[in-house]
């Protein structure tokens, strides 16, 4: 059996598993007919679209199958951070005391998925908004900027998110 063919089949199966999980979450029932229909259509869609969802060259197994329990911890941390961020927005909105700047910095994450999630988290945390994500280069709009030095700004903005994401996706 060819290596490439094997890799194609495993890509299709991984896509189908994600689709089946989505189907069960959307329908919300565990009846036999529903799950049977879901499996058939998941495999049908997966054979058509696996090359779009999973590219031919991926870095590692951890890119595709994240560690699930860390995701829940990450979600809880993210929601706490969102509340802190919103309470920090209160004086900025009411008083209008802002000092916006644009800062550039780089990330050390290698997985594409992790980078996208890092960009999303930066958008959700206090006073920062991702403008552009190009490979590993981030352009961030920073309300109430403290410094424009790339390295320090990156360390202040990314905070603990990068190390947590590294544990989930490498």
């Amino acid at each position: 059996m060819d290596v490439l063919l094997k890799w194609k089949i495993s890509r299709a199966i991984i896509t189908a598993v994600y689709l089946i999980v989505g189907w069960i979450l959307f329908t919300g029932t565990f009846s036999l007919f529903s799950i049977f229909l879901g499996i058939i259509f998941s495999f049908f869609i997966a054979t058509l679209t696996y090359s779009i969802f999973i590219e031919k060259q991926e870095v590692a197994r951890r890119d595709l199958i994240p560690r699930v329990y860390f995701i829940f911890i990450y979600l809880v941390i993210l929601i706490c951070k969102i509340y802190i961020a919103s309470f920090k927005m209160v004086p900025a909105v009411i008083v209008g005391n802002i000092n916006p700047r644009i800062v550039h910095f780089r990330t050390r994450l290698s997985s594409k998925f992790a980078r996208v999630i890092l960009a999303n988290s930066i958008t959700l945390t206090p006073g920062t908004l991702t403008l552009d994500l190009d490979e590993d280069h981030l352009v961030v709009h920073w309300l109430d900027a403290k410094t424009t030095h790339s390295h320090y700004a990156g360390r202040l903005i990314k905070g603990h998110f990068e190390s947590w994401l590294k544990r989930i996706w490498v």
Binding site: L25, F26, G28, L75, L78, I79, I82, Y83, A85, S86, M89, V90, A92, V93, I94, G96, I98, N99, P100, R101, I102, A119, N120, T123, L124, P126, G127, L129, T130, L131, D132, L133, V139, H141, L143
Partner: protein
């Protein structure tokens, strides 16, 4: 337990009003996006969490959780897309005047 629901509904309304005031008050597109992306997300997540506490453990809670996760993923992407459109068209960000 019912108190938690009241608190979350209150926070949802408070941040909704705050986000709108920010969007109306701030000077340029990027700062408006800051207010909208933070406060709208917090407002909606508070309301959804309140609904989840209200229903307890039931199939509805699972569906509301799916909506929450989807919104948590999609809302930053939407604001990022809007911001990138403005950035690539060359909109210069607002800066505070030095003299003040």
């Amino acid at each position: 337990m019912i108190l938690v629901v009241y608190i979350f509904f209150g926070m949802g309304i408070f941040f909704g009003i705050l986000g709108n005031v920010g969007v109306l008050k701030f000077p340029d597109i990027y700062t408006r996006l800051q207010a909208s992306s933070k406060c709208a997300v917090t407002s909606l997540i508070s309301i959804l969490l309140a609904c989840m506490f209200l229903k307890g453990l039931s199939p509805m809670t699972g569906k509301i959780l799916v909506i929450t996760v989807f919104f948590l993923v999609s809302s930053p992407v939407a604001s990022h897309i809007i911001a990138r459109g403005a950035w690539e068209r060359g909109t210069t960000p607002w800066r505070r005047k030095k003299s003040q």
